[in-house]
């Protein structure tokens, strides 16, 4: 698992009603000097990763759901989420999704998922977060697992900062 970049700003995400809104404000502050497109993309990534951390990470008894870091180095921006997972199987499932996104036509993959939701309104989970990060945010995703911690990294260009 790679270490945090020196210039990374980090948020410890707590489990409360307004946590994702806190994450959105954190993202806006972390890249306030970047282009509007970059700010929009980073806000999306931080919120989607934050929501996933709160929903799926560790135990609901734990005060913190995990951490989210944002760093800008040169013309690249990086969002990094680290959290505890329940099991190696959970980490494998995330890895599988990330690999599928990386290897596929992302627009088509996103459209296929929306089509599934359209045809089956009772599906319990939207599972759109990582897809939106890649499709709308233009991020390249990667992940790594060192029990019990799962790390997801999203990187993209940030020109004009």
């Amino acid at each position: 698992m790679s270490a945090a970049p020196q210039a990374e700003r980090t948020l410890n995400l707590s489990r409360h009603e307004a946590a994702v809104e806190d994450a959105r404000r954190f993202a806006e502050g972390a890249v306030s000097y970047c282009t509007p497109e970059c700010r929009e993309a980073v806000t999306l990534a931080v919120c989607e990763l934050g929501e996933n951390l709160i929903k799926y990470s560790g135990s609901a008894d734990e005060l913190n759901a995990g951490t989210i870091g944002v760093s800008v180095e040169g013309d690249r921006v990086r969002v990094r989420a680290v959290n505890r997972v329940h099991s190696a199987e959970d980490a494998e499932a995330v890895t599988e999704i990330v690999n599928k996104i990386t290897a596929s036509d992302i627009r088509e993959l996103y459209r296929a998922r929306l089509q599934e939701l359209f045809a089956n309104p009772s599906l319990p989970r939207a599972q759109l977060g990582l897809l939106r990060m890649a499709f709308e945010g233009g991020f390249r995703l990667s992940c790594s697992f060192e029990a019990p911690q799962l790390q997801i990294i999203a990187e993209r260009a940030c020109t004009g900062a």
Binding site: V20, R24, E37, E48, R107, R111, Q115, L117, P121, R132
Partner: protein, 128 residues
């Protein structure tokens, strides 16, 4: 949630207003469970009103809606599905300067091309 014509309602950082009997204006951001719950309820009630009034086309102005979470995208998918079954059209007024509008609404339209229209217009006061 019954929404009155011309009344602007805020749920946390989300705002909505029935600006005409056939247009809903959404603004702000949608990122919390509370706002998501109210948003879903609002659209379910609006769907019932649209069907009862036999409205052929209902406009949804999202130009000032700068951010939504994935649950909101799913809620739009569900609304489009209900509109397709009920036989009315949803005309989304979007902004070309907002990335999620430009990308996600084109995909939403592809789910039900006869049900979804996209009217892309620059926001008032937005830089070119």
């Amino acid at each position: 949630m019954a929404i009155k014509l011309g009344e602007k309602v805020a749920v946390e950082t989300l705002t909505f207003e029935l600006s005409t009997p056939t247009e809903l204006r959404l603004g702000g951001t949608l990122s919390t469970p509370t706002a998501q719950t109210e948003f879903r309820r609002l659209l379910q009630d609006l769907h019932a009103q649209i069907v009862a009034a036999r409205t052929a086309t209902f406009a949804v102005n999202v130009q000032d809606l700068s951010f939504v979470n994935s649950s909101a995208i799913r809620t739009f998918v569900d609304w489009i599905s209900r509109a397709a079954h009920a036989g009315y059209t949803l005309a989304f007024k979007t902004s070309p300067s907002v990335t999620w509008h430009r990308l996600s609404f084109s995909v939403l339209k592809s789910l039900a091309p006869a049900t979804v229209e996209i009217v892309e217009t620059a926001r008032e006061g937005a830089s070119p």
